[in-house]
Amino acid sequence: LVGSDEGLQQKLAEAILREKKNFKISIHLATSLPLPSERDHLRPRIDLIAFMIDIKSKYSLKNVEASLAHVDASFFLGKVCFLVTGVGRVNYCSVEMNAIWKLGEVYCSPVLFCELELEGIRVATAQRLLRMLQICAGHVPGVSALSFGSLMRNSADD
């Protein structure tokens, strides 16, 4: 999970861990990429990168854009997604919707809008992420990260 709001990251991570699953998962929280190289040898393979953008903070968008430059191209075949929070507070939006859509298009990755401050949505998002993670890690036979990613993108365009 990459994003500048650590509190929200932590809550989402805990929600993900609370979900029932039959595989081992480890969640890395970062404020930006690249990850510190000192821990490279301790890190397992990364299956999914979720970038968190707060629509109320231009800073969080800039942060994510700078981090995206450090992501290896292979991740963009379905292993990246954007989580956008804060859409409920229309008066405080400082990031344009167009910028968000463009981000999703340019990086060929799905954009999920979720008000992570609300527990119900947090749980739902956690479940979605887990499902995506399963696919990205190759645990679901017959569905690859790429096919799922394009499925999600096409349904969003409709």
């Binding site: 994003g3 500048s4 709001d5 650590e6 509190g7 932590q10 991570a13 805990e14 861990l17 081992k24 998962i25 480890s26 969640i27 890395h28 929280l29 970062a30 404020t31 930006s32 990850l35 510190p36 821990r39 903070s57 231009k58 800073y59 969080s60 942060n63």
Partner: protein, 346 residues
């Protein structure tokens, strides 16, 4: 007792929160303890104030006593007013012994010679603070007790805290009287304003925690503020960065609570820097704009920006210099070597 005085006392009592009325009246000392016993402080404020006025009738209160009650109220609740800070200057280094009676006499005389219709009251507090309450009239009308200015002067310092009323035109007169009475040469207004009088004092008297190196480095356990996540499956990748931000923040803001300011205002008179191709603003004129930061507690909010992931640390010195420079109103001009017009952009 004058009807206006009665009404004034009644309204002043109504301002006080019900639980505090008794204590404040005791501080006032105008009504005896036996008289206070006769008031039921559990009834509604309307009735309490009526009772108080009744007793004041019996004691024949005049405007002077009523003014003292007002001073006491404002001393306990100074944050209801906006305070500005003034600094006085002496030409030489002569430290004259401060004589309170002289000061009061000269101040009154000076003010009254220019404007006969003023009510002036003094009250001294510990820490050498002299509170002055002035109710302004005009050459033709009696002083309006609801249009008051307050002055807090710490006699051992060149600083004066003023809460002017709507009548800004009386400010020069007030300043002059202060300067003459306190044996200074001139007075200037600092660009520092806030509701919190104590915070203003903290800033000018340098009583807030400044960013000097603490003598004893904090023990490691204390520094780790974030609780270790119980779950080992959640890994914080940027612990070092977090610690750096905490450290920088502490260096800039110090450890203690910040003085309470409500806003910082920056008046920009800088040139608009645009893409040369965009061709906006052909004329090379300064682009005037006003940037205002407001918050219930501005400095604490700024302090928490970087840890909350909303801004880079360190913050722009334009924001962090506020307590050191003792100002929250700035004018930024296009001067070489002065503040470059670059902001932190949260």
């Amino acid at each position: 007792m004058d009807e206006t005085v009665a009404e004034y006392i009644r309204r002043t009592v109504l301002k006080i929160p019900r639980d505090e009325i008794k204590t404040m009246l005791q501080k006032w000392g105008f009504l005896s303890e036996t008289q206070l016993q006769t008031i039921n402080f559990h009834q509604i404020k309307e009735n309490i104030s009526q009772d108080v006025v009744q007793l004041c009738e019996e004691n024949s209160a005049d405007i002077k006593q009523a003014a003292v009650l007002d001073i006491i109220y404002n001393h306990i609740y100074p944050n209801k007013r906006v305070w500005s800070v003034y600094q006085m200057n002496k030409a030489g280094e002569e430290t004259e012994f401060f004589d309170l009676t002289d000061f009061k006499k000269t101040f009154k005389r000076r003010l009254r010679s220019a404007l006969k219709n003023v009510t002036i009251n003094f009250r001294e507090y510990e820490d050498n603070a002299i509170w002055i309450r002035i109710a302004w009239g005009t050459p033709y009308t009696k002083p309006n007790q609801y249009k008051t200015s307050y002055v807090v002067y710490h006699s051992q310092t060149p600083y004066v805290f003023v809460s002017a009323s709507v009548l800004k035109s009386n400010l020069p007169l007030l300043c002059q009287a202060l300067v003459v009475a306190s044996n200074y040469h001139d007075i200037r207004e600092m660009e520092l304003r806030s509701h919190s009088l104590n915070s203003l004092k903290d800033i000018v008297f340098k009583r807030y925690s400044q960013n000097f190196q603490t003598y004893y480095p904090r023990p490691l356990q204390e520094r780790n503020v974030a609780p270790e996540s119980a779950d080992l499956r959640i890994i914080q990748e940027n612990k070092n960065e977090k610690e750096r931000i905490e450290r920088v923040n502490r260096e800039v803001f110090g450890d203690g609570p910040q003085p309470k300011l409500e806003f910082a205002q920056y008046k920009l008179e800088t040139m608009f820097k645009s893409d040369p191709e965009m061709d906006v603003l052909d004329k090379r004129e300064p682009f005037r704009c006003l940037v205002k930061f407001s918050s219930p507690h501005l400095l604490e909010a700024l302090k928490s920006l970087a840890p909350a992931g909303m801004a880079d640390a360190p913050l722009s010195p334009l924001l962090t210099c506020i307590p050191q420079k003792a100002r929250n109103y700035f004018k930024i001009r296009e001067k070489k070597g002065f503040f470059p017009g670059s902001f932190v952009s949260p």
